[in-house]
Symmetry: C2
Subunit: 239 residues, 2 copies
DNA sequence: TTAATGATGCCAAAAACTGGCACCATAAAT
DNA sequence: ATTTATGGTGCCAGTTTTTGGCATCATTAA
């Protein structure tokens, strides 16, 4: 058995039994006393808090608060969590958000990639706010989540995006833009993009976008997105 | 360099360069061609999707969607993420929430502990809704996050909780209750608990609780919490 | 004092990893 | 058809890491 798996088994046994002794653990995981001791030391190095007491009746005790998980998440999943947490922080009403931030920071650090940092920069542009009371939610279509996979590579790799867009008047056009940010004003998502042919920024309601496609090999540089909190009052005019 | 770290380096290089060849990677990570090939095989076993093409101009290509992280999170951190995601789902306005759910499911599964499932049962009672427009947020105190660590073991281990409570009239009493659920109505958190001395459920505003303390060795069983969505209209009467 | 327990250092055996080699398959270029 | 650049596999000896046994010490309850 690989060291890593054996150490996981040790943690499991310690959790289940509350307290145990080196010899018992050694028998349970099929390793020698010496090896278990080394594994315990390794776990302590990794941050597990394991108390020990010598003498008859002594043994090991794992502090449950120090138990950790080793989930493997994809970049997309990290992105999803990121949005969730960023949104809650923007809403500003939940405690634990500090902990959630810390957790995400860990996840990002463990990710063998620095692309998530790029995503984070886009997230900085997000604003999540309560819906104005006069807006009729049922009348506002939501974007189709099935379209999202097409957007991700565009943001990750700064690729131009081509899609069909049906504007407020129902007129359908084909656009070819450089995605700059996502703007979230629940329950609507907007794509903020630079339109090279018009030399200007445009907002697109995500639910009015269809057939999005990344244009391969078209990396562009990021532009200064011309809004911040002041976007708030603009809300009613977006569509 | 340890195999694990070398493999991480490989993934980093592949992500950065888009595509590469075995020989180039071998030089970059300071290992032999054979070893890199073995590492690639190991990565594939772990779920990384690495395409390869033979012949001149060929090479390796890592599908970015398959890149994974190996963060180690504590139970408390998982709880924090859980709340974040559960809240967003309750708000019902964000896409990606399916992905976030999947990510959390993975995290929970990887956690060598089943305590998080217990936490999840509490979370099922959460309701997160937009604040009624007539409520003046600035007048509503928020709970002190510093108090939270005292609550966590109470929920995790079903322990009785003792605390001081200052009610709406400013009268301070000492309570001794069995915590049953957290009720979130932004920006306020409520503790829903069974009060054995009164043989009834009580709601406590978290920001009016002080000096919370777990009562060790006092495990209790869960009671049927007598509310669901119908709690919504009750809102104005809670305090 | 004794016995049970955690903890550390040392060393040889065992296991895993590594790098070199030969060799194969494929596909583009000549 | 040949050459060349590439990924991929099997084998084996050398190297490195891990393991298990041993001796030994410290601590504490009986």
């Amino acid at each position: 058995m690989k060291p890593r798996h054996r150490q996981d088994a040790l943690v499991r046994n310690l959790r289940r039994q509350g307290t145990s002794t080196i010899s018992r653990l050694a028998e349970e995981v099929g390793a020698s006393r010496r090896t278990v001791l080394r594994d315990i030391a390794a776990l302590r190095d990794e941050g597990f808090v394991i108390h020990s007491e010598t003498g008859p009746g002594g043994g090991l005790f794992l502090d449950p608060r120090s138990v950790q998980t080793t989930a493997r998440l994809s970049v997309a999943e990290v992105f999803a969590l990121l949005i969730s947490v960023a949104s809650m922080r923007a809403a500003g009403t939940l405690p634990f958000s500090g902990l959630a931030d810390a957790a995400l920071a860990k996840i990002e650090k463990a990710l063998p990639s620095d692309k998530v940092q790029d995503l984070r920069r886009f997230l900085d542009c997000l604003y999540v706010g309560p819906l104005a009371p006069e807006v009729d939610i049922t009348n506002l279509g939501k974007m189709d989540p099935a379209l999202l996979p097409a957007f991700e590579p565009a943001f990750l790799n700064r690729l131009r995006l081509r899609f069909h867009y049906r504007d407020a008047k129902g007129v359908e056009t084909t656009r070819h833009v450089e995605p700059q940010a996502m703007l979230i004003l629940p329950p609507l998502w907007y794509l903020v993009a630079w339109d090279p042919s018009r030399q200007d920024f445009r907002h697109f309601r995500m639910d009015r976008i269809s057939a999005p496609e990344c244009v391969e090999g078209s990396a562009f540089r990021r532009r200064q997105v011309p809004f911040d909190d002041s976007v708030r009052p603009v809300r009613q005019t977006l569509d």
